[in-house]
Symmetry: C4
Subunit: 221 residues, 4 copies
């Protein structure tokens, strides 16, 4: 099997998806990145480090192996590449990973406080609270391990890394971007709700029903 066409397709998708981070206001300057696993190969593609979103092209997106080493590309990979690689190595069903410092999600993360499930849209997409992962320094597998350990214990495709920001996963890069967009949206709405009182909890059984229906019925099937 020739993996080249798949690589180029994922590069184009991942390049284009960065524009969604900009459109939804999830990123400032160059602080946020999308990666996507290459189907049929032990590879993923990711944003180059410190390159502005305006300047991204499919060719500038770099290709890495699952240890995060550069395989193809003229740029240095994102400084978050080790965390993405760890997720791909340990979560085989994950096809896309997104990292941002989006304002409201990062504010919950700065307090190390999970976002409670008080909106039906949150039950739909996250199946419960959005959990907090540990404080971890960049430079080894600490961040990746914190992401995977936390996500494996929750329904949520998003984890708030303490004092840092948010990582989201999906079956492909587009799903992970959707989770990043919805995470900031509910982080903001629940924050605003909490500013003037206590939101009403949704019973766990109703959260489960909503999550099950959304995962199986929503969309074009």
């Amino acid at each position: 099997m020739n993996s080249e066409p798949a690589v180029e397709r994922v590069r184009r998708q991942v390049c284009a998806l960065h524009a969604e981070l900009v459109r939804y206001g999830l990123v400032a300057w160059t602080a946020g990145n999308v990666s996507g696993r290459v189907p049929g190969a032990d590879l993923f593609v990711i944003k180059p480090s410190g390159v502005s979103y305006d300047d991204l092209t499919p060719e500038s997106i770099v290709v890495c192996d699952l240890d995060g080493h550069l395989v193809d590309g003229v740029h240095t990979p994102s400084s978050d590449t080790a965390a993405h690689a760890y997720v791909y190595r340990h979560m085989p069903d994950v096809g896309g990973v997104v990292h941002t410092h989006s304002t409201y999600a990062s504010a919950w993360a700065a307090r190390a406080e999970p976002i409670p499930c008080v909106l039906t849209a949150m039950a739909d997409e996250f199946g419960g609270e959005i959990p907090v992962g540990p404080f971890a320094l960049i430079g080894d597998d600490s961040i990746g391990r914190g992401i995977v350990t936390t996500l494996e214990a929750h329904n949520s495709p998003a984890v708030l890394m303490q004092n840092h920001g948010v990582f989201t996963i999906g079956e492909d890069a587009r799903s992970a971007v959707k989770a990043a967009v919805m995470c900031e949206d509910v982080a903001r709405t629940v924050h605003v709700a909490r500013q003037l009182g206590e939101p009403i909890p949704i019973p766990d059984s109703d959260v489960a029903k909503l999550h099950d229906r959304y995962q199986n019925v929503y969309g074009q099937g």
Copy 2:
């Protein structure tokens, strides 16, 4: 009477009106929808489920009967179709329905707290408070019944559904979109006002005068 031209016209209008939801920041990803009754027919048109706003075309807008069953269109109707259909069946003067999870309206909804009428623009458009409807799960007529019961007891064309979001109605789809835009605008302004103290109430008699004047005098007549 041939209903076809009316269907196509409403499809075009409803397609275009989704761009207003995006422009005013009322929706994230695909979470929000507009529908419009087809004049002279027991039909309404509505957004297809899970399709991004960028990809909407008049042809992609689906046509449903008043029980919410698909009559024409190649996509699955919005997962909120049953709620829209219930409104059209029980409120014959309603020609348009909008549903969003806009941030500030949803924040009031998460606390199940009506928005008090403390702005003249709110008196104009809503004729009093914006009320809260019950918590209801998707999947049967619970949401539709909650919308209709609440709206019938108030002047407001908008209802905050507990833990969920906002539904608005209008004589046509454009009026319902206007109500959705104004609902988020006043939800935000009253929220901001309340953050630093108590807004001053407007006497009921003045609310009534403002509402009456706006409904009968404003605009190009």
Copy 3:
């Protein structure tokens, strides 16, 4: 003297300036308007009522006399025309008036609380606090009288009308729009500052120095 060319020039300017209200997020749907006095004539031009900003053209801008009666134009004038007319009749140096329900200014207005002068940019533009005018119903000269009485007692070109929104004045329509933009900007910044504590006051003598310098030195002279 032939006033026709001046009318058409002011119509073009006032039409174009409405785009600044949209750009700075001061207006939702059709809720805000700009007017401009016609030099050399007892006339002013103003937005037509209920027309969307996208649809404004210089021809759609209506011309009124200083009693607010329609003199030229195919549309009904803004429902706020009487307030604008009152200002032009009683403040001969005013060449432009703007009215919006911008979020943060309206939030202070809903609490009837003046915005304290705690920013040098506020001292520059407003020369002190932004004051609150009375609650007044639309339909007679109450709003206009409230605006003029309040502005005459302050340096500020902006007044927060209780439970309503903001009116600003200027030597021409562009200056009044600038005051509306800066009013919302400082209303927001001071609100945000107050959310986490008390801003530090600026001594009155320093406010006076800043205001004097800005009114006389800033810009291209």
Copy 4:
């Protein structure tokens, strides 16, 4: 050495960088400015006073000597020119300076409260808290001296000037603009975090490690 080409290049860069202030919502009307040192000459270029961002061209950017006197250009320099000039005279490694009244940074400045370092992105870019400089009136070297004295005592390339706004520095104008964008981003996120509780501090030793790594490893090297 002929400095002319360098002047024109920096004029183009500085002109273009003002669009980033607009894009990131850091400025209202004309309230914010970028300057850049001219390599190989005792000159810098800066925005003209009171000119709207839409109307800026490379030719409209003015050239000043390090005392802030106009050397080339048809417009009056920014009213903040003396502060920029003071920085260039006293900090020889600085190649760019930015001044804005961005909302969240100015809100911390209005309370004279430094922004605590509770985000890894803040440790990366600012190496600790973002400090507050003194209240100072425009018109002499007070603002410039306050900026330089404060920045020399901190890692941060940004200083919050009390009751005023933010000044940032960089090795060139682009770096100073990046610091202005990141300053507002972290000012907002930490503000939002603080609204609902106390953010968790990052230990000083971890701040130092993050800052060191980011300054030396991030980007395309």
